[in-house]
Symmetry: none
Subunit: 207 residues, 4 copies
DNA sequence: TATGAATGAGATTTCATTCAT
DNA sequence: TATGAATGAAATCTCATTCAT
């Protein structure tokens, strides 16, 4: 990962203050996520984010150099979590169907539980060119990771022959779209969604 | 349903001029759709839309009273098409699996072919409260139509027992998400996408 | 000269509207110049410039894409005039002392009379990197033009031997600095300044 | 002359701590000067000054009550030095041409050597009304001191008859402008500049 | 139908400055 | 003396929209 700014990068080893500030940044993120859910990420202003995080707008800039950096941090962080989950699943060594089930569950856990339904990691459009490219690259890595499970399954004859790329996108679409309708305070728990989704989306591949 | 404006509403019966203007409106829509695809709907300004449609910004306001109305028209129009397709499918009287296949194909046709990949009909956030509610209501009607096919299938024992609501949302998520990655000039035709998707998404339901 | 923006560049041949807008731009410039004189260029906000030009701040952006472009246009324009004057002088074919006298007069005419004492063309600091480089390059061309007269004079033995670079800078310093103290409504006319300056600054070089 | 603040003025007689703090203030000044040289004084923020002086922004306020006071201190200090030099020269009792040569050299020494090329003492615009007036008054005293030498020279027939006010401003313009182009790390020493300038600028007056 | 010019409201961001420690 | 965190005010700029023609 490349450095974004001199002042505040995840690369330099964390001093006492850095750690404190980073914890604060994470907290701001959560607040931001809930603001995003209300009007969509593009329509959410820095004022609203600041308010959600209980800061003055100016103070928000103490923690993030720009709206761009805030959004980037948001999306980067959740993609990291998802990638890590995908890697863990693959290391687990289960058969492809089970792996796929686990990845689906993991992504929904991250999206619906940890970030409480924020779609932040999907709204690539709101980012500036440079940062967008970086996020898109990471997102592609994640897509590849999922696609590889599908391909493995086809090769191992657990899954029927099909266009792995398209099916992977169908799966990710179903998952990503949850951010649009899922409400943490609603009646379905994230676990219920995960159960039904992993079931349904894997079934469609089984021979 | 209430009229939006005196001068210009899709609800008053069409005079000659109306029809002509409406054709123009449709054309502007297509142009707008391609602009939306570039930066996402929320980040696309009236100026860009005007430019894409080869009009001056001021002139755009001759055809649409506001950005809101334009967006509304856009989303309303494609939802209408999709609803109509769903009704036609149901009238066809096929068994649920085939009905579902047809609906999936129809929606992708509408989204990827007719509107050339514009996601306009999904971005409810960009609309003002009143119009949003109307679109959401229509969208819900469409979701219900699809869900009813799933429920029919479960009842008729073509489909396995499952949470019809969640599965319907998985399906619609997969379909809607295509707007995010599909490029008309890319290598996959919309028909190829439709074939793989309808196959995969129906398979997951079959007993 | 390279294009700054698509919308509004001096490169495209002038249509009717272009010409009108460009006249307006020139007028705004004059207004801006008088605003600059009050607090210095860096401390003059777009609001103040707009007010001086009797426009709303937003409307100012119809004519100039940014403060940067306005400043650039300002400085570029007066440098162009000065360069042209310098070229004309050299074409005149007089002896170096007379050439120098004429260039001094011309620059003061441009600065004190045409722009009414605005120092805009000197405040390179306020520009963004790219535009600054362009202006600095042009300014250097002007400095070279003046220096060449000094060098010619030394070679032709009209002027005493000396460090031509430093003397040129002394001359330009004296001239540029006038923007700091000259007031059009004051008692000295620009012509009086020009007479004394060209006399004094040329005398110092004569053998 | 009025006090600026109770806590911290250059006018109260120096206690031990005062002296120490003043040394520190002088050191900060030097650092600030080098920061000013980069973007011009108006574009240099307190953060940059603090950084240049290796202090935290907050700590900078321990030494200077405000940006205004810092700027004032800066300009006041160098004007004091220049005024003192001018007085010393006059006390020297040399003939006007030599006096003028010495004053020119002294000002360049102060500007280019002691303050390393900072233009701080010229940027009157950046000051608040009250402080500006004070500095302007002092600057006028300096201008008068120089002008008196010119006038003396005219009276003593060392210099040709001319508009002493304008010539003085030409001289000061040439000198002040050096701050704009002189780089301490460049190839010309301040002494070389002083030699050529004093030579050239005095020659122009000699009968 | 068409458009150049204009604008109010609001968005992001900066900056001098302060406060608690 | 020193500083991390905080802030109000203002600056630049954008944008949907309107008006006169």
């Amino acid at each position: 990962m490349v450095q974004i700014s001199n002042r505040r990068s995840t690369l330099v080893e964390p001093s006492r203050t850095r750690r404190k500030a980073d914890a604060r940044r994470r907290a701001i993120l959560k607040a931001a996520a809930s603001a995003f859910r209300k009007h969509g990420i593009a329509a959410t202003g820095m004022r609203e984010i600041a308010e959600a995080a209980d800061l003055s707008p100016a103070n928000l800039y103490y923690y993030f150099e720009s709206k761009d950096e805030l959004l980037y941090f948001c999306q980067d962080w959740s993609l990291d979590r998802m990638l890590e989950a995908a890697r863990a699943v693959r290391r687990g060594g289960e058969r492809p169907p089970e792996q796929l089930r686990q990845v689906i569950r993991a992504q929904l856990h991250c999206m619906l539980d940890e970030l409480e339904g924020s779609a932040a990691h999907l709204e690539v459009d709101a980012l500036s060119r440079t940062l967008r490219e970086r996020i898109v690259a990471k997102r592609d890595r994640y897509e590849s990771a999922v696609r590889r499970i599908v391909e493995d399954g086809i090769r191992s004859r657990d899954f029927a022959r099909t266009d792995a790329t398209l099916v992977t996108r169908a799966i990710l679409g179903a998952l990503n779209w949850t951010a649009r309708w899922y409400r943490p305070e609603g009646e379905k728990t994230w676990a219920a969604v995960a159960a039904t989704f992993s079931d349904y989306l894997v079934r469609g591949l089984i021979r």
